[in-house]
């Protein structure tokens, strides 16, 4: 049992924290999310130079052989700074799929480019009628000569605006909600028949709805075995869950710190807000929620590489815990800041926006409570 970071992880954490502290103050962040791209390409280049884009990939493909703990470290820091970038969608999520499912040849072609920053990807899995069920896929891929033709509609695809290619889950056989029969394809964003409607999300990041109209892909663009992508997709989204939960822990820590500082200094009735017991107890609730979430993020991260059932039930537990805590911490931070908490000028509300997005991403509290129930046996550590 070891809940600590080793020396290399400690150094890595310091370096990400330093970047966020030096280059990502709140005003800069607000300027960045107001740009057309919703992220700063110079930063992406810097991420590449620092090796962050290569983090989770094997050395043989230009990667750094990082672990889920490394991803957790970077995501927590990003959460602290409310960093808006395609890191999650491109490196953590799409990168994981390629790393796990792609052929040797595909990996050689794609991972080094992903690592050096010249290639950005995203993953289109959600559909208007699928809600959070990853196997609920109406988009179809029908064989066409040596390749396939894709038809369908994918929604809220993160940072599709900056992606060169998009991974698409499409049904090659079976019925709409069958886990069997889902396949993955790599589609060029500029391919004929791909149309995207780009928009900002509530937290200032970017997403798009993507329509696929008779899009032609080659047999080489199939990622992983035909019909058998569901397990990879589930696993990938569990990695996404661990990463977003780590990001949420970073965001909640900042809300906790800012609110604590505020009630220690703001005076009303001739004394600080923090001297009122009603507010002290609420602040302890916030502290408690942050502590419990941090533990669950550690557990979910460590369990990513365990058995499927353990991975799933721990990821779902973390997602539920973070979803509930995100609301509690965000709401209390606003309430304790009073009118100031309602202003656009203060970061507080913007953290709640990100936490709200995170609650929805990869499945909300209700969805993961149900998945936890399906996957958890009597728990044991």
């Amino acid at each position: 049992m070891d809940f600590s970071f080793d020396e290399a992880q400690q150094l890595f954490r310091d370096s990400v924290d330093r970047f966020v502290a030096e280059h990502y103050d709140f005003e800069t962040r607000q300027r960045i999310v107001a740009t057309d791209d919703g992220y700063l390409p110079e930063h992406w280049q810097r991420f590449a130079e620092l090796g962050w884009l290569a983090l989770p990939f094997p050395e043989g493909y230009g990667g750094l052989d990082g672990t889920p703990v490394d991803t957790m470290i970077i995501m927590e820091s990003f959460g602290r700074g409310l960093v808006a970038s395609p890191y999650l969608s491109s490196v953590v999520v799409a990168g994981h799929i390629l790393n796990r499912a792609a052929t040797e040849q595909q990996k050689q072609a794609l991972l080094p480019a992903l690592s050096d920053g010249s290639l950005r990807l995203t993953f289109a899995f959600a559909e208007p009628t699928s809600r959070f069920d990853l196997a609920d896929v109406s988009t179809t891929a029908t064989e066409d000569g040596a390749g396939y033709r894709l038809n369908g509609y994918k929604c809220v695809v993160h940072y599709a605006n900056t992606a060169h290619k998009v991974l698409v889950s499409a049904r090659t056989t079976g019925n709409q909600r069958d886990p069997m029969g889902v396949s993955l394809f790599l589609v060029d964003m500029g391919a004929s028949g791909v149309s995207a409607r780009h928009y900002p999300t509530i937290d200032g990041q970017r997403a798009a709805d993507i329509k696929l109209d008779n899009v032609r892909v080659d047999a080489d663009d199939l990622i992983g075995d035909k019909d058998h992508a569901s397990a990879f997709i589930e696993e990938t989204c569990d990695h996404g869950i661990a990463a977003t939960c780590a990001e949420a822990v970073g965001a909640m820590s900042v809300l906790y710190e800012m609110t604590l500082e505020y009630i220690k200094t703001r005076e009303q009735f001739g004394k600080t807000l923090g001297s009122f017991q009603a507010l002290q107890h609420r602040m302890v609730d916030v502290f408690m929620a942050c502590e419990l979430c941090r533990s669950m993020v550690y557990a979910a991260t460590c369990r990513l590489t365990e058995s499927t059932a353990e991975r799933q039930c721990t990821a779902s537990a973390a997602k539920v815990q973070v979803g509930k805590a995100g609301r509690l911490v965000g709401h209390e931070a606003i309430q304790l800041h009073g009118g100031m908490g309602m202003t656009d000028e203060l970061p507080i509300g913007h953290y709640l926006k990100r936490l709200t997005m995170i609650n929805t991403m990869f499945g909300d509290i209700a969805y993961h409570t149900a998945r936890f129930r399906r996957t958890a046996n009597y728990f044991s550590l």
């Binding site: 002290q280 107890h281 779902s316 149900a370």
Partner: protein, 398 residues
């Protein structure tokens, strides 16, 4: 980072589990599982077996008769006791008097008082609260005046768990009222058979008798029964609160209760189906289980940090708060799950020789009584509000 116990600790867990499963008598297991209070004799049947194994004082160093276990081993030991429905170790002796005397006691006190704790021959109770000193403990007024080689104690102590089965009380008494209220408090060991000490049972609304009020009328306590210095009792009491309290969160007891709840919803039927298929119940149980999991990992994280050398500080209070909230919630859900069979008052059927037949399923017998009884959890050992005050002050700096 690795959240699993080491191979050694996992092997140790198996050893503990095997011992309990071999030696724990079925009737005791059954009574613990049902939430029944054991009498002292019931406890001792099991305690003697644990004692032969040298496992009754898990946190003590070997020189005082403990097994010399690591914190992780201690955690796993209590975890297995709870998981297998073994009784808790008798209150206060192993967890409080042991560490207290090892830190502050005289040689004579250690020799006199530690061995009978390990063997189970002497049981202890805690005399802290008074009728007018509850959460504001330092305001206590029970008086002790030195008279030659004895302190003469006058006053009253209340909410004393297990006073009626205890041999000794460790009591905070006032020896000086001139300074700040935290000063002038002294810690004494009082023989429960002392002349002038009388006791009144307090029946809680679940019908149980766990606590008493004690009255002291010129009770004479030999000076050698004073722990440490006169007037330093408050700092010893604070030390007791800071001592690593393995299992404060009672995760494994909650786990066992949750297992019981799951058995109940699997057996109970609603609309022609097992109750566990009811979406409301299913969700409530899953949400609780998730809360419990988060608490468990947090406790292990704190345990690791303590083993790594950092002081487990007042953060431990959050374990008590959340742990008790979860246990209380489980008992509520058990009552909900039972429907009408939560209503019969079947406690008389448990009286010895009562020969009163029970009605309804066995698991329903004490469910409501347990629910009522466990309301105490958020009140005793420093109410949850006091715990929040502690965290607000000591962790948050408010």
């Amino acid at each position: 980072m690795d959240i699993a116990f080491s191979k050694d600790v996992q092997a140790f867990r198996q050893e503990v589990r095997a011992f309990i499963r071999t030696h724990l008598p079925d009737d005791i297991k059954h009574r613990v599982e049902r939430g029944e209070e054991l009498d002292r004799e019931g406890h001792m049947g099991w305690h003697r077996k644990l004692c032969q194994k040298g496992w009754t004082v898990p946190n003590w160093p070997t020189e005082y008769g403990g097994p010399g276990w690591s914190l992780a081993q201690q955690y796993v030991f209590h975890d297995e006791l709870a998981f297998n429905c073994a009784p808790r170790l008798p209150w206060y002796g192993w967890d409080m008097i042991g560490p207290l005397l090892i830190e502050y006691g005289s040689d004579w006190q250690r020799q006199r008082f530690l061995p009978p704790i390990a063997s189970g021959e002497e049981w202890w109770c805690q005399g802290f609260s008074e009728p007018n000193s509850g959460s504001d403990l330092a305001s206590l007024q029970c008086k002790a005046v030195l008279d030659g080689e004895h302190y003469v104690v006058n006053g009253s102590k209340i909410w004393i768990t297990a006073a009626h089965v205890s041999d000794w009380m460790f009591a905070l008494v006032r020896t000086d009222s001139s300074g700040k209220k935290q000063q002038g408090i002294t810690l004494l060991f009082i023989d429960m058979r002392s002349p002038g000490l009388s006791r009144r049972p307090i029946i809680t609304f679940d019908g149980g008798h766990e606590i008493d009020q004690c009255y002291f009328q010129d009770v004479r306590v030999p000076i050698e029964n004073r722990v440490g210095e006169e007037g330093k009792g408050w700092s010893y009491a604070k030390y007791l609160l800071s001592v690593e309290r393995i299992g404060t969160a009672d995760v494994a007891r909650s786990g066992t209760m949750l297992r019981r709840l799951k058995t109940i919803v699997a057996s109970e039927r609603a609309q022609g189906k097992p109750l566990l298929e009811d979406p409301w119940f299913a969700d409530q149980i899953a949400l609780l289980e998730i809360e419990l999991k988060a608490l468990e990992v947090t406790e292990l994280r704190y345990l690791f940090e303590t083993e790594a050398g950092s002081d487990l500080g007042p953060e431990a209070s959050i374990l008590k708060i959340r742990g008790t909230e979860i246990q209380q919630r489980i008992t509520e859900l058990i009552v909900d799950a039972l429907g009408y069979y939560a209503c019969p008052d079947l406690r008389p059927a448990l009286w010895q020789d009562a020969n009163i037949p029970a009605v309804g399923p066995d698991y329903a017998m004490l469910a409501s009584a347990s629910y009522f009884n466990l309301r105490k959890l958020s009140i005793f050992s420093g109410s949850n509000e006091i715990q929040k005050n502690i965290v607000a002050k000591a962790v948050l700096g408010l």
